[in-house]
């Protein structure tokens, strides 16, 4: 059962990676907007919440090696 879960997780790993890339890109986009147009990005997005999700996904990815 444990092995099956591990295999399932491995099969979802590429998706997790894409999610991680998305949140990283969104945070970079937000950072650029905050430098150029302060206050606009944080008006619509909670940067701390986005960073927490990104970090959570990163920890999940690190938990399982390829």
């Amino acid at each position: 059962m444990k092995k099956l879960g591990f295999i399932t997780f491995l099969s979802w790993r590429p998706l997790l990676e894409e999610i991680f890339y998305f949140f990283c890109s969104l945070l970079i986009l937000g950072g650029i907007f905050e430098i150029l147009l302060p206050g606009l990005f944080v008006l619509y997005f909670n940067a701390a919440f986005l960073a927490a999700i990104g970090l959570g996904v990163l920890l999940l990815l690190l938990y399982v090696r390829r």
Binding site: S11, W12, P14, L15, E18, I19, Y21, F22, S25, L26, L29, F33, L37, P38, G39, L40, F41, V42, L43, Y44, F45, N46, F49
Partner: protein, 495 residues
Amino acid sequence: MHSANLLKIRLAWVSLLALIFFFLIWQFLSPGGSWTCRRDFSQNSASFLSGRSCLGEASPAERVVLGRGGPLLMLADPLYFSVFSPRAFSHAEVEIIYRPHFSSSTPVFEAGFLADADLWRYRLRPVYNLWLEKSFRSWPVKTQDNWRLFQRQEKFTDVAEFLQTWQGDNNNICVFKNCLALYNIDSSSFPPTLDLNSFGQKIGGTSLPFGLRGTHQFYFYLSGGDLDITGSLLDGNENKDRDDAEFFLFYGKELISSLRLPDDRTQIEESGVLSAEQNFQIIRSNLKSGIYRLEFRANDDLTWNNLRINSAYLSFIHRIWPISEFSLNLITDASYLQVKALDPAALQTINFGGQSLNISSIYKQYEALADVGGQTINLSRGSIILENNGVFALSADALLNPDYPRLDRFAPSVEQLDFVLADYEPAVILDNGWLRSRLDFASGDLYRENGRYNLILSVPGLQLDRAEGLLEIKEIKVHFYGKNLMEKIKDWFNL
């Protein structure tokens, strides 16, 4: 996972990111030419998913209470909010839904934006005036646009007729000495409240025996001819900004002359090193006889020492910050005095109209109230800020105040007035005692930093340690508007 699926997923999130990018650009451009920031304090909209509110938190925090489900309770004056807008707009309309619990000590509620960050000046508009909403309700009122004329006895059929009479021969229409009180009206085009024929007899000048710190404005009377003002500037170099000085000379509404003295002193800002005294002289010739107003704009680093002017009538408007190590005496035409010390060495007991006022803490505002105006103020030393709604002078002979009584917290009583003229839009009455007021601002030149304007709500007299009222605020909406994107493009290309 299949590589084709992976590609689809990647395409999806890149598209989503692009969508977010264009959404943010769209918001920044605001192509429709408007932007609305609204905050309802009766709804708890904050969640960990959402971003920040476009209307920041009220500050200082100790002056407000916000319970679950609101509204926001304003307990002390003033209150500041930051208001985000993605770009600058030419106009701003502020709508406030509120429930006032005011007394005669707190009759006025005003709101506005920071217009000059250097001098910390706000452009305020009336939101609610207790006198106009309640006390004069029984008086006949004539309306013309937003101008409202209240008459004790109905003598004029409209505002225009009153203004025409008031500008001409107004001797026979008054019963009381105060006669006319104004609110939110620029009285510089009105005839002065003083009999100018009684001036001009006195010759000579005035020398101030103390310095003036920071921005000041004062009235003086010239019997015609030349103006000669001299003095010296001393730079304390206590703050980080450059300390330019500006002088503006007004005759009524008209700007007669201006002068700018740039800070080209060699001392480093924030070093605390005193500069050498910089002497200056302002001479203007062929001036008409009458009352002039001189505005000295400078930040608190600059002190104007050795002021000399060739006028025997010299009165400082609303505020004076005398700098002296010696005792000094002043007189004010107002019956009220507000005192603040910023320097521990300035703590003292002052005398205002025979009553003692112990100034025992710095940065704390003290107040004294007398029965009538024309009270003397005795200070054991200077370096103390004195403020009220009148003027300050060295002696009663030098007092000069051409201003009309104002319908603020120190307004003359209803029984002492014949007319009241106000530029005021009454509040709209909603359910459960809530009121709604709308204020319009030209926001093109308002101060904006990091995309945020600075909004102030002011109820003068509202203090934490006094139970003289409070203000419930249910909602604040700021609607910015101006040219849309097409109009801007046409402007750029001169189409």
